[in-house]
Amino acid sequence: MKLADVSLPGQTVVTGSLLFTAEDIIAFAKKYDPQPFHTDPEAAKNFVFGGLCASGWHTCAGWMKMFIAYWAKEHARLLAEGIEPPKLGPSPGFKKLQWLKPVYAGDTITYSVTLIESRPLMSRPGTSINLTANQGVNQKGETVLRFESTVLEFD
């Protein structure tokens, strides 16, 4: 089965929620994005964001983590129903990514994915490309992350 058959275009799927603790925010930032507003709660007060907040890349990685967790369950559910799961491949990239609000220590982000369209790739027979709109919303209902990404799918 193809992705567009199991996840109808336009239908939003909530993939999961992730708590961003100060510890997690600092651990990720020390490795990948050690700007003071991501590593030091005191220093963060002197910057535009006004408090310790997650690296935008941490927020994005969280979206992927929740998508993979959701997809593993979906994959198992389809197999249990005797349906061959879609064969998703790597992603060529993303666009229009907006970090709309900082993700502060203690925030819980609920992630979602919406399939926009699916089309065969002319340059690579047997392969389709899916465009999805992706989102992260905090516990106050504010959208913190929004982007569009593509994912390959094999026949």
């Binding site: 990720f28 490795k31 935008g56 992927m64 060529p92 666009k95 907006q98 970090w99 709309l100 982007f147």
Partner: protein, 157 residues
């Protein structure tokens, strides 16, 4: 220190270089992107990526670190509102050495926030074979140079 005024269109700022080993690829993927081609050499070889390959989000996060170490740490950065696009052009495989550059496309003061401006960059990450593995454009906010701060050698291109 690099301030808003120092980001003149066309200026090229080198990223720090970094070598990626299998353990780092597996560690990132285990936490954020546990797909077989990011966790296992054999599964990677069997995939269209051709080997144990870094998650695209790992490459993007590493790019962030390479930018920080290359030039962002000595700037007046106030973070970024987003990424216009980012393309994962080639797989990043275990053992690859990455380098790259940020090129200033345009810079403008923010009318809504006096003393701050937005600089748009083209970022390119390159492997040891001189292939572009990732490229993208994004704006970053910077503080303008304070009136009492003098320009030192290296700030201006």
């Amino acid at each position: 220190m690099l301030y808003l005024e120092d980001f003149t269109p066309g200026r090229v700022l080198p990223l720090a270089s970094c070598t990626l080993d299998a353990a780092a690829i597996i560690e990132f993927a285990s936490e954020f992107d546990p797909q077989p081609m990011h966790l296992d050499e054999e599964a990677g070889k069997a995939s269209i990526l051709g080997g144990l390959a870094a998650s695209g989000w790992h490459t993007a996060s590493l790019f962030m670190r390479m930018m920080y170490d290359g030039w962002l740490a000595k700037s007046s950065s106030e973070g970024s509102p987003g990424i216009e696009f980012m393309e994962w052009k080639k797989p990043v495989l275990a053992g690859d050495t990455l380098s790259g550059r940020s090129t200033v496309i345009e810079a403008r003061p923010l009318r809504s926030r006096p003393g701050l401006g937005l600089v748009k960059f083209l970022h390119e990450v390159i492997n040891q074979n001189d292939e572009i593995v990732m490229r993208g454009e994004n704006p970053i906010m910077f503080r303008a140079r304070p009136a009492d701060e003098t320009v030192t050698a290296g700030d201006r291109a």
